[in-house]
């Protein structure tokens, strides 16, 4: 199938946005990148850019552990209302927001760990019972 859309130089777009990346896989039909959007989420997302599709869609794969926490950002597509660059920017924005959220959660957990240390409580025990604890 012929792709009438102009070829997107995804690597240039990533460089413009100072997004670190590694090309994991590439052939004529598909290119796969591992993106370094924030320092915390080094291995957070993987971008699969399908050059064969007429919609120039790209698939973003998230590690399993994150899929349990958030809805995976998959099959973001270009449309008449949004360009590929718009979609990419939205994706980067959401990823950064998620990273910031995890930083905040991590800080709170550090505070909880400090409380446990101060009170000589066993944090591992707490983890195993935290769901029940939360219901109280």
């Amino acid at each position: 199938m012929e792709n009438n859309k102009p070829q997107i130089d995804i690597e240039s777009l990533l460089k413009e946005r100072e997004i670190g990346y590694t090309k994991i896989y590439s052939d004529e039909n598909q290119r796969v990148y591992k993106l370094y959007i924030t320092s915390m989420l080094d291995t957070f997302v993987q971008l699969e850019f399908d050059v064969q599709g007429t919609d120039a869609s790209f698939y973003i794969r998230m590690p399993q552990m994150y899929q349990e926490l958030v809805d995976p950002l998959v099959w973001l597509q270009e449309s008449n209302e949004s360009t590929f660059e718009d979609v990419l920017d939205e994706f980067v924005s959401q990823t950064k927001k998620l990273a910031e959220c995890f930083f905040k959660v991590k800080d709170k957990l550090s505070e909880i760990k400090f409380i446990f240390k101060s009170y000589d409580l066993d944090y591992e025990d707490f983890i195993s019972t935290s769901n029940n604890f939360e219901k109280n």
Binding site: I115, F116, I127, S130, F133, E134
Partner: protein, 268 residues
């Protein structure tokens, strides 16, 4: 004519000795109670000290035994002295009694210092120290059962509890975050446990009255209550943090229930 102590009847000997002790203690403004009394012996408990000073005047020993206990353990942990009821009894009486009272004072000071050090070492982790035990609770004129001690202290501290009697006596202390439980076993052992709501054991201490090194029941109970107050404070703080984490997650559409609380999987 001088009447020899040796020729006194046993009852009279006991009477003379008790009068001497009671008079001598009153003269020295030392508070005391009779814990036990019959024709065979009289058992005095000296108050106003952290430790118990015991004086037993008995027919069996034909004299008076003086020793120092840790309350409720019925165990002599420190020096004991024996005063035989003979012609020299009165002569040695004041000296021995003063020495004995001095020893109680010294041991009590050491014991208080030890408790203070324990308390200080726990202060950084224990914002609420256990309420002090009133003298009326720490010293009794009659031997009291462990259950009475436990119930008395829990009531004094306005701690709600449920008593379940079976083979053991179980005290379930009401708490929102975990389950403090006290088990009184038929063999006299008492177990102090703090369980999570899922039944995991957070801490457990067994008090064995036969262990001469064990602290008194009221002390270990107060330690236990202090510990669970401390845990309560900790869990209150932790719950605040968890609520904050949940708010962050909700705001960012992160499923809080799926969050690995250790977060190591996300960072390592």
């Amino acid at each position: 004519m001088k009447i020899s102590y040796q020729h006194q009847t046993t009852l009279k000997k006991i009477k003379i000795m008790t009068e001497l002790f009671e008079s001598a203690l009153e003269t020295r403004n030392i508070k005391f109670v009779k814990r036990f009394e019959n024709d065979e012996k009289i058992d005095y408990l000296i108050q106003d000290y952290s430790l118990e000073g015991i004086i037993v005047v008995s027919k069996e020993t034909n004299g008076a035994k003086l020793y120092i206990n840790i309350p409720y353990t019925d165990l002599c942990l420190f020096s004991s002295y024996f005063m035989k009821f003979n012609d020299n009894f009165k002569n040695q009486f004041d000296g021995v009694l003063d020495y004995f009272l001095d020893q109680i004072q010294k041991h009590s000071n050491k014991f208080n210092l030890y408790l203070e050090m324990q308390k200080r070492s726990g202060e950084s982790t224990t914002p609420k120290s256990p309420a002090p035990i009133s003298p009326s609770n720490s010293l009794h004129s009659q031997p009291i059962s462990p259950s009475t001690t436990i119930e008395s202290i829990l009531t004094e501290r306005e701690i709600e509890f449920e008593k379940v009697e079976g083979n053991n006596i179980t005290y379930n202390i009401k708490n929102n975050y975990f389950k403090p439980v006290i088990y009184v076993f038929p063999n006299g052992e008492i177990s102090f446990c703090i369980l999570s709501n899922t039944g995991n054991r957070i801490s457990a201490t067994v008090w064995d009255p036969k262990n001469i090194h064990a602290p008194s029941l009221d002390r270990i109970l107060n330690h236990f209550l202090g510990q669970f107050e401390s845990y309560y404070n900790a869990f209150s703080l932790i719950k605040e943090k968890l609520i904050e984490i949940k708010a962050i997650c909700d705001y960012n559409c992160i499923r809080y229930d799926s969050l690995d609380m250790d977060l190591k999987n996300y960072t390592d």
